[in-house]
Symmetry: C2
Amino acid sequence: MRILILGSGGVGSAAVRIAVRRDFFDALVLADYDAARPQALVDDIADDRLVAAQVDASDSDAVADLIREHEITHVLNAVDPRFVLPIFDGCFAAGAVYLDMAMSLSRPHPEKPHELPGVKLGDEQFAQAEKWADAGRLALVGIGVEPGLSDVFARYAEDELFSEIDELGVRDGANLTVDGYDFAPSFSIWTTIEECLNPPVIFEKDRGWYTTPPFSEPEVFDFPEGIGPVECVNVEHEEVLLMPRWTKAKRVTFKYGLGDEFINVLKVLHTLGLDKTEPLTVKGVQVAPRDVVAAGLPDPATLGSRMHGKTCAGVWVRGTGKDGKARSTYLYHVADNEQTMAEYGSQAVVWQTALNPVIALELLATGVWTGSGVLGPEAFDARPFLDLLAADAPRGYGSPWGIEEK
Amino acid sequence: MRILILGSGGVGSAAVRIAVRRDFFDALVLADYDAARPQALVDDIADDRLVAAQVDASDSDAVADLIREHEITHVLNAVDPRFVLPIFDGCFAAGAVYLDMAMSLSRPHPEKPHELPGVKLGDEQFAQAEKWADAGRLALVGIGVEPGLSDVFARYAEDELFSEIDELGVRDGANLTVDGYDFAPSFSIWTTIEECLNPPVIFEKDRGWYTTPPFSEPEVFDFPEGIGPVECVNVEHEEVLLMPRWTKAKRVTFKYGLGDEFINVLKVLHTLGLDKTEPLTVKGVQVAPRDVVAAGLPDPATLGSRMHGKTCAGVWVRGTGKDGKARSTYLYHVADNEQTMAEYGSQAVVWQTALNPVIALELLATGVWTGSGVLGPEAFDARPFLDLLAADAPRGYGSPWGIEEK
């Protein structure tokens, strides 16, 4: 296997640091628009399999050329979701397997944005599914932690724990704090505003996909391993688009544990128009309010050493167990910032995202996972993934997951 | 009397429209940095006593020259409080009586901003009180509605209603709404951020002036004439600096009925640093976050015709009545936007501010009020002011005030 990782930001860099401990691949090219960034990482790690490269991820021809130049077999997209389609197209053109952690972007319904979906997350990729399947090529979409590990949990629950599933409810929460700041998001505020203010999407078997106003159906969810109760609300997320395609769940939701303080901040920004991305004229200069908000906050990528706490990703499954009785179970994975910083130099949220595509690449390299078309993580057997995740090194990745009956 | 009003914004313009119905003055010069603005108003009103002029209010020599040129006897400062000192100095130099509606600005205590006052509101004016008194000249400071009418109420309560005052608590609240906006402040958001995020100041006889963190001592106050209960919090305001100089009250506070939604907005802006006035670099341009917030909201001066509701200014006095019994009384004045728009074309908040200095000018013109030094409204007899305010035209201004026992 010859891997190309596009993007040497937090997640791309963490994926390299995780992958170099494994022996399932022959070469790993790390490419970025700024060639100095991947080169610095390659120099630092000093593994003969690593190569740094430069590429413009918005140019599908350039992506295809880089794939051909390095005889790449598998591409992991670790850049901003705005670049999904050119990378996706470049992979098809050059015949490489494509993997990503966020799918092509949505656009709200022009008349009823809080009732009906417009263009959904991933629609532009699934529109090409037949072409990929006919060509016998694989695009494995949404294989980070959420989407990604959450989707693997959903498949595992359907196969091994439940005879009927009423709801697959992804629940994401954390107790991360950052020293020295009253308010310091542990992830991009720009992206958080985008995903939290887009109309959340919900799936119901009888109704199909539909949307609601932002922050709908608030619920306090009690997260495991000391994180405790966090207020969660519906947020637009890929799992709601992926899980219904490969599971029989009657309902699929995604709720994000933003906490009431963060939800309040996002609501105020929206009320004052400070979430807007169109430039305003302010004393003679043009500036987008959302960019001003982001510029005034610390860069989350630089905060790992000041962060404390844990982040939890998982799926709360409700339905009928294999024994015919009602069952309510949370399948989850926790990353502790102290541990991820000590072992990998990556903050917890970034590291937890990067871990899963590396495991998927190993399963593809060893032939445990095979397929063609545009497939989500649910389309593959969950048990070998979860075994490899939890098993101690050197066999596995030594990161246990949990099950809690609710 | 020959009057100069500096500033032809909302309050200055409303003061002219109120004054021209009266015959106590011989000339009224309306001056602004932009000469076209006062000229438009003068042309519109067509009263022979009115003259438009241009002046830079930051230049005390220019202010003095304008006073001399038009043989001005009384100057009303209706510009931004940043210009208090040059106008104040220009009046002294040219020998005119000075009136303002906001006093020289405060600066927080460098080490303990939430415990001790630094430079207080008006300190830079009161530092010159002896000079003004010795020269037999008068500066009547803080004679808008708050400060202004509130201070007149305090003096009235002490003279006529109470034998001992435990607390003079200014309470300001409104039920104003603006059609077509989720969030549209009825006054400058820039100034509101300034006054609400400065440390509020409180006076206690035994302790002197001290400060607290912003938004301290929240209290729901029930305002009269259908406004109803509004959440009020301590805010830095001139009355707390004025009333203790001329009354014997044991405690003086100012609470602003911001309402919980507005308080929340201000807190979020502060938490995210969006209240800051120092420029940030945002994608290559320099911009102050507070200016971005202001630029994204409608200009309150343009909202009068879309506004509905009433605004109330007053003082809640607690202590011992003239009969020796405990007494708790709210003295107040309400302006109804519908009425002020219909009668004067001014929105309620602006009109209510502009009304009081015109009444004070009339009392000075007729010799009912006299004095020298730097004096607050409490230094003058309250009853003739309140009589003139409430009496029907043509004798008075036809705007009744109220008393409510609490």
